[in-house]
Symmetry: C2
Subunit: 443 residues, 2 copies
């Protein structure tokens, strides 16, 4: 790991630093640069890198203004050398947020082919297959031999991000087959590509959501998947290393949703204001819900005045039921996201979670009921114990049914988050408590 | 997707079904088989598959007893044909859970080389690099030419799981370099491997935890990483597609921990008993904590009797603070897991979250304080509002400091889960409420 680098002051120092940086992983350099506070120091350091390393650092830092600052302050030939090393999909991601006049100056540094690829890629939403794909891939016509295909790849290879699959097209540029490089290499040189290719090719549409693409590639263990337009022409590929980032991002999104945080905390260091805006909405919903809990309790106020010890168990009741509800909703939401729970088997899933909730409720009810009887008085212990059984049953039922229902009506199940479930369970749990306590204590 | 398959009764039907299944993705067949309730039907269907498809179905189903049932009931030659298609790392995972006598009978179906690989792999913990790696990879000595290296790969390729990197070794079998297949193909045929290889090779130790491996591969965007033993000999490789499953599994583990679920719900359809045992511990901790909340309230009982309306706001106070605490702990836990938060910058992270907590607290305090003043009486509204400001400040502080502290003392930060934070925040929040209310209402 890099700890500290002094910017060179003499040419000799500069040469030594360049040599040193060549042996460091560019991802580590990116990490070091991201921790620098001085913009100038960041720029100067990137200028010392080899073009291919600089391109990786740009990708890792994902900071479009740094890219334009560096590229537009370098001599043109040097900026073009770096631009040539940036894959068109990464370039499109970086250029997407630049202002128009900056973007066109940066675009001018790319060669014609790359520029037209980037402009095409800029047209796709970054959360779709189009936003994720690279346009650098290898296609061969179906009629060539394995030997010829390998030669075509040699010519393509310097540009292609991956040559781990070779895509086979017919005369109309339709995707008709796929070959792994391995199959091509072990085939006899004179074999026709059409004879060894697999014709059962799965592809994704350019407008598909990135999450669907990640799920497909995870399920079928693909190293790359071709992207086709609406006319089934192959226009790009998505490789598994791009999917790794999507999987992390989607998991983070679900974590945040489950915790009641809306979009907006993607960046490494979000502003306090951004975080405030992302978190406030669920707090407002919680307040509305918990005012409902308050209304339930205020309806019970006369009885609470008679037996104020009832209030002692309110935090325990809401805490335990919220916990059980969160457990059930987490298992359900994650199971739906991973595809291990199928929304078709609704009844079995709900039945199973309800059984678990009942088992947990009976155990917890016995324990707390016992403690309550000894600590306060037996009838209060009985009321608290019975309420816990009923509340846990209900919490696990809600924690399961709510996300399953959201899934059915095409709302993200992760919206059935901890705050949502907790609030719903609080209101209904306190209603149970007041009814059961009133009946048992005869107040 | 497969909807329904009837097992064939005539030879003609069998041939037709075999042809049909050949065109279906084996992952889809695995999904269909996993939903069958009849063991016999599962076995008969697998027997109809081509050996390579059967091997993928075995991997996908991850059901070791099905594997032994199928392999040991097939004619020996047919079972050996399937065994030959199972990569040694998958085979080791499947054989790990078999009983000794069954395992040795299944092992006998593999050829000598695969058998010794599998026996070696069985020696590694399945959560380590050794448990994840495959022993099928391509090594070439540093002194051969590019042409010769390609020829060696042609010979190796039918066995090697991936030939996307070629590993270069010296005379002592030490890993000295790495080459992508692409670099090999675009190099001149007579170039020595030593001249084109990259010498700065990152590797993982066979005993490294799978999470570390996944983090390393994610960070550096590797398609594969070599695994070395304690003497730096290369003994296997881990490919990015194996890492995708690790990433999903680790995220699921974190989701579960955050929701207060211990290990044990890995399987697709865990038993009610397993789920009960995984969830009960955190409920017990919640109960202990919330009994603490009860003790706080019972110390306040005499005052509650004077102003029973104080009880109305208890669920709102605990609900909101729990929510804020969960938001902060989720952002912190996820940030630590993703490496976007560095535990070195503790002060900045805590300060930032505390600012957010204060901002949220002031907003929420004003809203609820206002409502409380109008609904009940002004001094009660003031007490509730002030408590909310203090509680939210404290909840976001705890939600940040607790996981950071856990990280520092090498406890998984995800243990700072929603139930844990909620419980801690409930007790201290209620303590604040009683103190503030007593002071303001002068009771």
């Amino acid at each position: 790991m890099l700890t500290h680098i002094d910017l060179p002051t003499t040419e000799e120092e500069e040469t030594r630093l360049r040599d040193y940086l060549e042996d460091v992983q560019p991802e580590d350099i990116a990490e070091y640069i991201s921790n620098l506070d001085d913009r100038n120091e960041q720029i100067e350091l990137i200028k010392l890198l080899e073009p291919d390393d600089a391109a990786i650092v740009f990708f890792e830092l994902n900071d479009f203004s740094l890219v334009s600052d560096v590229l537009l302050s370098l001599p043109r030939w040097q900026a073009m050398a770096i631009a040539a090393e940036i894959p068109s999909d990464d370039a499109a991601d970086l250029l997407a947020d630049m202002e128009d006049n900056v973007r066109s100056r940066v675009l001018a540094l790319f060669d014609d082919e790359a520029r037209s690829d980037i402009i095409e890629l800029l047209g796709y939403d970054e959360d779709t297959a189009g936003g994720l794909m690279t346009t650098e891939f290898v296609v061969v016509p179906a009629f060539v031999t394995a030997q010829k295909a390998i030669e075509m790849m040699r010519a393509f290879a310097p540009d292609a991000e991956t040559i781990y699959y070779v895509y086979v097209i017919d005369g109309n540029s339709h995707l008709v087959g796929i070959l792994s490089l391995r199959e091509l290499i072990i085939a006899g040189p004179e074999t026709a590509v059409a004879d060894i290719m697999q014709t059962n090719v799965m592809s994704v549409n350019v407008h598909d959501d990135q999450e669907e693409v990640a799920d497909l590639m995870t399920k079928y263990n693909f190293l790359a998947v071709p992207v086709v337009d609406d006319d089934e022409h192959i226009i790009g590929i998505i490789t598994v290393d791009d999917i790794v980032d999507v999987i992390h991002a989607e998991a983070t999104e679900d974590f945040y949703r489950m915790a009641g945080i809306n979009e907006g905390e993607d960046d490494e260091e979000p502003t306090v204001k951004g975080a405030y805006l992302a978190r406030m909405p669920w707090l407002l919903i919680t307040i509305c819900g918990e005012l409902g809990s308050g209304i339930v309790l205020s309806g019970f106020q006369a009885r609470l005045e008679q037996v104020v010890a009832l209030a002692i168990f309110i935090p325990l009741l809401t805490g335990v039921a919220g916990n059980v509800g969160t457990q059930s909703s987490t298992v359900t939401v994650r199971g739906l996201a991973m595809g291990t729970l199928e929304s078709g088997h609704t009844l079995r899933i709900v039945l199973r979670e309800t059984c678990i909730g009942l088992a947990l409720g009976v155990s917890v009810g016995l324990i707390v009921g016992g403690i309550g009887s000894l600590w306060q008085f037996p009838l209060l212990g009985l009321a608290v114990g019975l309420t816990l059984v009923l509340n846990n049953l209900m919490a696990s039922f809600m924690g399961t049914v709510v996300p399953l229902t959201f899934k059915r009506i095409n709302v993200d199940p992760a919206v059935a988050s901890a705050p949502f479930i907790t609030t719903v369970v609080d209101i209904s749990g306190l209603l149970n408590y007041t009814l059961i306590a009133a009946a048992i204590l005869n107040i």
